[in-house]
């Protein structure tokens, strides 16, 4: 599925986006891996109740190397990657004089922002 045997000449937004995706995905997996190691060292089971996401406490929990904080950071990175990818595409296409593609990308970012609002609105 991921193997590419032939590499044609791909330039512009595609390459910048590919670089962002591969590095970001690797960073998120490193964060999940670190969370797993900390869970193992702290005898925390995957089925134990985890603290919910608290953005105000997150920096403090990260400094304290709490596994849930690393997992939340990894989650945030995974969710931010596609938005970053869209941002890189928007800039790339705008620079190449393709405003239509850039506008479509911006509209998708807007849709995702609506998703956050919809999610927050439905919270009890």
């Amino acid at each position: 599925m991921m193997g590419a045997s032939k590499v044609p000449n791909v330039r512009g937004p595609e390459l910048a986006v590919a670089r962002l995706l591969s590095r970001g995905a690797l960073a998120s997996v490193v964060l999940f891996g670190a969370a797993v190691l900390l869970m193992l060292s702290g005898s925390i089971s995957p089925l134990d109740a985890a603290p919910g996401l608290d953005l105000e406490r997150l920096p403090e929990d990260l400094v304290a190397l709490r596994p849930s904080a690393l997992a939340w950071l990894g989650t945030g990175l995974v969710l931010a990657l596609p938005i970053g990818r869209l941002g890189a595409s928007i800039v790339g296409f705008a620079r190449r004089g393709e405003p239509r593609a850039a506008i479509v990308g911006a509209a998708t970012v807007l849709v995702i922002a609506v998703g956050v609002v919809v999610g927050l609105a439905g919270r009890s």
Partner: protein, 259 residues
């Protein structure tokens, strides 16, 4: 310790199988967590969406570098699949878990049936050297409607949506199968993330379950991609059909309140 082994080994298996058979891992992650560990179905879907988004980001990078994926088309369809995924996420929180289980059982059966009917020619087409520039897409409006459907399926069931998007781009929009699969692979990260955000904001993601599952799925997917050329997919596909059939029955039992 058994929980650890189960979750990591299950994640690895989901990643390897998904990668070898061209599926996102979601179709295996959700039953693994729900039927194997007793995690509520909605939480399993939330975890699955994050795992799918992470692996899709990595595979999307490969597809873009190879020139197989059509980034412009991906961005156009993502607008619709992301909207669909948000709607799907909202639907999932409104539905009773038994209905979710019934829908998932139907998905498992559908995928099993499509694998039975799939011809070996598909696999050879995917490994060809055609690039996204070779054939422009057509019927964009139908593609947009299908994108919404794929997004809803993703948000409700915790899958990438490729099961809808690949046939849509190949059969309706006229793209070569390899380009359709690659473009779908790029889109899945955005689609799954849009749904995942709804689950995150509504408290539908368990970080202690997510971390080992995501690690296993990611390593499994990378391993699967490397060993794919040396594996006899016919045997693997037959085995997978049996596994999917079994999981569908178990999920149906859950929907009917039998387990």
């Amino acid at each position: 310790m058994e929980t650890w082994l189960f979750i990591v080994a299950g994640g690895l298996a989901a990643g390897v199988f998904g990668s070898l058979l061209g599926l996102g891992g979601g179709i295996l992650i959700v039953p693994l967590l729900t039927l194997g560990l007793g995690i509520p179905l909605r939480d399993a879907v939330g975890v699955s969406l994050i795992c799918v988004a992470a692996t899709s980001a990595a595979s999307g990078a490969v597809y873009l570098r190879s020139g197989a994926a059509d980034l412009r088309l991906a961005m156009t369809l993502e607008l619709f699949s992301a909207a669909g995924a948000i709607v799907g996420g909202v639907i999932a929180f409104a539905l009773d878990e038994r209905w979710l289980a019934a829908l998932f059982a139907a998905l498992l059966l559908g995928v099993a049936l499509s694998m039975v009917r799939r011809r070996a020619a598909d696999a050879t087409d995917v490994s060809g050297s055609v690039t996204a520039r070779d054939k422009p897409p057509r019927r964009l409006r139908l593609g947009a409607a299908g994108g919404i459907a794929g997004g809803i399926a993703s948000g409700v069931l915790g899958i990438g949506g490729g099961i809808v998007l690949v046939p849509l781009m190949h059969m309706v929009m006229g793209l070569p199968l390899r380009v359709a699969a690659a473009t779908s692979g790029v889109m899945i990260a955005v689609t799954a993330s849009a749904g995942g955000i709804v689950y995150l904001v509504r408290g539908g993601i368990e970080p202690y379950v997510l971390a080992p599952t995501a690690l296993g799925v990611f390593i499994g997917a990378m391993t699967g991609a490397r060993v794919a050329p040396r594996v006899d997919l016919r045997i693997l596909r037959a085995l997978f059909v049996v596994v999917l059939g079994y999981l569908a029955l178990r999920m149906l039992g859950r929907a009917l309140g039998l387990t």
